[in-house]
Symmetry: C2
């Protein structure tokens, strides 16, 4: 993973009124910006993911074609590449890393794309999950820069039930005494495994488990899936990084800033992009109802749920048949040609 | 809670091939058995509940009217009243308490009602949640004894997704180092609070939280609800008791016995009772789809979901407007008059 670049953003005043010093925004670009600076796509990262995890939607012949577009994948703060609890020096390291909001992320990304990359506007802003939270924020803060918007299995603010789901995950992680309020000397392995097991029921839906669809991913039984996939999924992650990202997630609200002053509908109404709101039809934590509400309040939006049994994972194209990925790619192709 | 009686069941050979010694089944009856022994109702307990928690459906003028019926509420093994990890002497105490299945529960209940109470048959078998698991088992094992069946927000076997949800709860509880593999000297408070916080997202649905319906229960905010209700809900409970009940829950399958040998549809087909299958319409862990399947395979069943936003709690009549309780009571009145 040395295929990235770093934007040294210096001192960043956060919404929390803390100054994040020597801020680094790690990003990866695909393709080349044209002379007019008008073929750019912004594609931020999901929870727990880096720019590498974005690549399932990027490729020649796909909607996000690097031979046609200049695709920018900025890494979210807290994800372990950009400034995060795990890579920030004392006294802002570990559990003392300040709260960073979706707004904070987007404001630094704005500096990157305008000051460093020379981008004037985006033909498309797209993201999955927390990536969707970021592009919703982009589209309402900078409507003149975002021509098209596609939000995959995310929402413009964290719904209360979604907040509660994350509370459970956090509780499972931090229940491990090895966590030591974030000052662990070694991985709190039991907590990390527990949070994975809590997450397991949320990421995929009742019918997915009823049909034993883990078998399509190569797992031989439910126990095999829970152990091999979920118990292990967070073991390589830094707990404070995970918690910082969950905090960003829980605080997400595109209207929680001086521009919109908490008026959520006003923030949605400020989006001028041609928009596809694309929740997973069976997503338990970003359920389609929230997306439907958002689509109703965005002037030029179409509600286009992904018809899938893959729960939240529909937005990540994890279905091995490729059906969800194709649905998303076809939709993005259609959106880009509009 | 001294308003109960105890059936000393002696040695009980469990499905696990362990003998539970000096077995006690605690039960409470309401009303009087008629001379013919034909006005009895069996109404087992839910997860984490005792006979006291059953009383929301019992009262003069209600369907379960103790002036008309003899209502038997047997306490599930593991719930802290009947034989449980917390009240069984060594070497079967605490984490060494044997696995007790729904089948084991029902077989001891059968001895109680036939040998001790002189009941010939039930006009109704009814239960909520794990109570529903038990009455499904009653109705297929002893079809000649169960004239009518009502299953509230439960299922005849634990669906795989439901199993995964419970896995997350167990992981959160046992991640606390104070749990000490079940040999705790004091309450593993962090684990108990964490399991409550994990459960919070599952018990009630997305729309319930979206509408902030915790306010109707007297909680002033989401944080107030999570702290005052969920962080506290399990603190008075014994962790090994909770785990024993969760194991019973996860193993639930009315066909997992010598009578039906794992043929689930055959077990459902053996039920002759006039049956109302009554899941909560928005229940996330006993979703209506499982109940619909069961109703299709029970010869004389009607699928009658509770139209409620109260998730799993619909079956417990926890809606303070009384709407869910009334829907259930009206349905039971109708069923009893059929």
């Amino acid at each position: 993973m040395s295929d990235y670049q770093v934007f040294e953003a210096g001192d960043v005043l956060l919404q929390s009124d803390i100054t994040l010093r020597d801020t680094e925004l790690v990003y990866k670009t695909h393709g080349t910006l044209n002379a007019e600076g008008t073929n750019a796509i912004i594609y931020p990262t999901r929870y727990g993911g880096t720019h590498v995890d974005n690549e399932f939607l990027i490729g020649e012949g796909m909607a996000l074609d690097p031979s046609k577009y200049f695709i920018i994948c900025p890494n979210k703060f807290g994800n372990g590449t950009s400034s995060s609890p795990s890579n920030t020096p004392a006294p802002f390291d570990g559990p003392k890393f300040p709260r960073v909001t979706i707004y904070d992320n987007v404001m630094v990304q704005h500096r990157l794309v305008t000051e460093v990359l020379g981008v004037k506007r985006f033909v498309l802003a797209v993201g999955w999950s927390m990536g969707a939270q970021q592009v919703y924020q982009w589209a309402c803060l900078f409507p003149d820069m975002v021509e098209r918007l596609a939000t995959l299995a995310g929402s413009a603010r964290c719904a209360k039930h979604n907040f509660v789901f994350i509370e459970g995950v956090k509780a499972a992680l931090t229940a491990d005494a090895e966590f030591k309020n974030g000052w662990y000397e070694r991985q709190p392995r039991i907590g990390l495994q527990s949070m994975g097991r809590v997450w397991a029921g949320w990421a995929l839906c009742q019918e997915w488990y009823r049909k034993e669809m883990y078998r399509s991913l190569g797992y031989s039984s439910l126990d095999d899936f829970l152990t091999a996939y979920w118990d292990g999924i967070y073991l390589q992650r830094d707990p404070n990084d995970l918690l910082a990202m969950m905090d960003t997630w829980q605080q997400a609200d595109i209207s929680a800033n001086d521009t919109f002053k908490g008026d959520f509908e006003k923030a949605l109404g400020a989006i001028t992009a041609k928009t596809y709101v694309m929740p997973g039809q069976t997503d338990l934590y970003f359920p389609p109802e929230d997306g439907e509400y958002e689509a109703e309040h965005i002037p030029n939006a179409e509600f286009r749920p992904i018809p899938s049994l893959w729960g939240h994972y529909a937005g990540g194209g994890k279905d091995p048949t490729g059906a969800d990925q194709k649905f998303i790619d076809d939709s993005l192709t259609e959106l880009l040609s509009a």
